[in-house]
């Protein structure tokens, strides 16, 4: 860790979205989309962020790019506080590839004007040189030079995502945020795009933050993985470390829930978590996972909020009872829902706010 330079540092950043009930009425409550996240992204690495929908991973990505203002906390990019940087500088250094390639491109612009727009905004002159530059960019993402006269709808999903990547690369940024770049793509095309990302990172020494809900993909592409649950990071580790010995029960359940295309003895037994992700507007007390956790203990997990602590070199986990390597969660449910539930009479008093 120490031998690598830090590119981005997040210090306890929070994003609370206000809930208003009407035009003039006061704020009723807040959605705790990102609630105290501290992270370090090193230069040249790929950090994967996984979590279920609504856990705040996309909001976190947008905060890193300062596309939305932060409620509290600070982001330090390359030694400079992000709030003190000009927007133009931020965009020149950090770029984003969005989930839906069709939705993130203007259907009335040709590929040439899509890719050249960031360059023109940043003072490059439009002309033959630009055409050459756009052509080079297209070739670097595996498209052809003559594609630049086409419109987005003339491309397939994978090719559109390649164009979006070329646009992100146009300003030669140091950092690219990939917000679910392959979740709209088919498996065979997803493989092509992932290979391309890998290749580009190696060629240009880029830093990636890869946001996804697909654990297979994150395992393939990331050096480190952060697992998010309800606006907080619950586990952060090197990829191999995380996938081999997950310490947080949520990570464990998440890993066991991946449907694998294998049959026979290779199959894992699945841990089926009961219930849904609680509402981020009203997060549970204590550990946020305790309502669904198979090993939650009353009096500890629903009262104290666990800190993100080191349990191994570079392996951080936010749990009161982290699992030792090789330890397994109880598999049998016995018909009783996991976790501490407001309905069950024994815990009802604990759940009162």
């Amino acid at each position: 860790m120490s031998d690598r330079e830090t590119l981005i540092e997040l210090n306890d950043i929070k994003k609370w979205f206000p809930i208003k009930s009407g035009l003039l009425s006061p704020v009723k409550n807040f959605v705790h989309a990102v609630d105290g996240v501290s992270l370090v992204v090193d230069k040249g690495e790929t950090l994967g962020i996984v979590g279920e929908s609504g856990c705040g991973k996309t909001t976190l990505g947008r905060l890193i790019l300062s596309l939305i203002p932060i409620t509290s906390g600070s982001i330090i990019y390359d030694g400079v506080e992000l709030r003190k940087m000009k927007n133009k500088d931020i965009r020149r250094k950090m770029q984003i590839v969005f989930q839906d390639p069709g939705g993130s491109m203007n259907p009335r612009m040709t590929v040439r004007s899509i890719i050249s727009e960031p360059l023109i905004v940043n003072g490059y002159s439009d002309g033959a040189e630009m055409t050459k530059k756009v052509g080079d960019l297209l070739e670097s993402v595996g498209l052809k030079r003559n594609h630049m006269t086409r419109f987005p709808h003339e491309f397939s999903g994978g090719q559109k995502q390649r164009v979006a990547l070329a646009r992100a690369l146009a300003l030669e940024p140091d950092f690219i945020l990939l917000d679910e770049p392959t979740s709209a793509l088919d498996v065979s095309v997803q493989a092509q795009v992932l290979n391309l990302l890998d290749e580009i990172q190696r060629e240009r020494g880029l830093t990636f933050v890869f946001i996804t809900h697909s654990l297979n993909v994150v395992h393939h592409i990331s050096d480190r993985v952060a697992v998010m649950y309800l606006g907080k990071i619950v586990e952060l580790a090197e990829t191999d470390n995380l996938f081999e010995s997950p310490a947080h029960p949520y990570t464990h359940a998440l890993l066991s829930a991946i449907p694998e295309p294998t049959v026979g003895q290779d199959r894992n037994e699945r841990i089926v978590l009961s219930g849904d992700v609680p509402s981020p507007a009203d997060p549970p007390s204590g550990c946020r996972f305790h309502t669904r956790c198979p090993i939650a203990k009353i009096g500890v997990c629903d009262v104290d909020e666990p800190e993100l602590v080191n349990i191994d070199s570079g392996h951080k986990v936010a749990c009161h009872f982290p699992l030792a390597p090789g330890e397994k969660l109880p598999l049998i449910n016995n018909g009783i829902p996991y976790g501490i539930h407001p309905q069950s009479s024994t815990n009802a008093s604990v759940q009162e706010p």
Binding site: S156, S188, A191, D240, I258, P259, R270, D276
Partner: protein, 651 residues
Amino acid sequence: MSEDSLLKIQNLKVHFDTLEGPVEALHDVNLEVKKGQIMGVVGESGCGKSVTSLTSIGLATCIVDEGSIKYDGKEMIFHESDKNNSLVFLSKILPYIAVLIFFPVGFVYLMPFMNDPLLGFQIIMLGFGLIIISLIIKYFIHSDLREHEKFMRFIRGNEISMIFQEPMTALNPLYTVEKQIYEVMKTHNRLVDSRLSQYDRIFSSLKSPFRFMYNWILSDRFSSIFFSILLLTYLLTSCMGPNLISSWGTRFVVIFYASAEVSISCTNYTDELISYCFLLIPFGILRASIKSSMDRKEDFRKMLVSIPYVSVILLLILWYDSSLFLGDLWHEELEISDNNWVHSAFMIAFYSPIISSLFVDFSRLEEVHRFLIIRSIPFTFTLALTYAILLWTPNQVVGTIVALVMVISIPCMILIDYLQLDPAHRGQVVKILEDVQIPNPGAVITMYPHELSGGMRQRVMIAMMMSCEPKLLIADEPTTALDVTIQAQILHLMRDLRDRKGTSIMLITHDLGVIAELCDSVSVMYAGSVVETGTIEDILANPRMPYTIGLLHSIPKIVHSDEREGRTSLPIIPGQVPDPNTHFDGCRFHPRCPFADDLCRSIRPEMIEVSEGHYAACHHTDLTIISEDVESSFDIFSKEFEGVGGEVIVR
């Protein structure tokens, strides 16, 4: 073999008609779902998985070229017989003759300078006669279609039901969960005898008027009702008091605009309100024309003259609307769906009760629609009466009548929507929700879909589909919109339902992981045809079609670090899924296949039985025995492919 097959699709070939010509969606699909089996259909997007499923329950808008779908031995595709060609032509041409020849001639005779208006009237009536004859002919021509549609209605939801990908769009956001499940059960007569009478229910709903009013004011509908009341007050004052708005035309523009406004905010009644808006336009035109021609001296002859005018205008509007909404009675485009029927029924009911009795085949309407029409009868009847009277009454009185009808009838209709379910029926709904493991179903039934999370919504969808205990469940990507942990719950639930009730499931997905989790047998589809079929072990452990091997190969796998040397590049299938309109003589996979040779390019491979029950459509099944060899040849081929610079779609 054949007796335990529940759904059998054979040689299905369909196309979509687009402005740019036909698009062939399915080329040759053969599928079989056995009783009590979970059958997976897997493929990339655009390979025709969803079209297959929609076609099999008659919901797809595509045109079936050939093939058959047999459910439990019964044919599900309607084949129109050609024997009635001359009658079809006659039924098409008669309305045109009436409109282009009889009506103009009749109108000419009605002109003031002709001396024989009665002859004109007779000619016009003859024109109407022709139109009615053509309708009668159509009624008899389409009798077999009606039978088929009746059969399909019986099948859908009752014998075969479907779970859609996105639960939020599949549920109606304006009705509570219980109402939506109740509707399915009511349609298929699955309800037990009600404990309370209709009047008791109305009474009990009104017992707590404050709660009712509170709910109502909080609901979105309130704003629209508020709107309409405001508008009507305005109208009333303008009609009764001094003429604030002097011309009827201005008044109708105001009404039309405001009603449109109301209908937008009040989607539940869009159909009714839009038809109401349209109703007002001809009324305005009529009123304006008659006022000038009648000159305050009403005699019988002039009234006779006015009737054809009125009827022709009404009929033309009806014809125009029906060409949009009532396709199968007036035109050849047979687009039958729920909304069209409701809409057209309303249209007709509004325009004229007499015409409606001629056009609407009440036996064809389902229970729900009959209910809807009956619900609108007081409203319709009053309007019809208004129509008859208003032509000879002063403006102010007419306005008042219309306004009063609106003020009284719209809240009545809303009240019917707010009626509580019968306790017996509510018990049934709760029991179904318990079956799909929804915690606290008593509270969930009164919730609206937006109050539920994604997994719960999908459970409600499954509950709705299971409410009639169908024999076959078609699940079209049921877990794609869900997260992994919720996905695990839903898959668990579906397997559980199969085990308990013996429901066959046809699971459509692009995720081979889900297939492995749930299915007994799998069909792999590629570009509109099935390329490999077999049991789950056959396909996942011993695939023989190169596409299946490549697909399994290209999924990122989680392997342990000692097996994983650094970060390797993912294996890929080079190239793209072909455009559906590209013509292939041979195998549709050959441009992306490492084994492609002249045989593959020229002759389409048949399904070859490679082992018992395991079929693969490939000429080179002898080369694909060892999957690792195929994978390595894919790797070599993809490098070559990149060298050539493939991956270009030809448009």
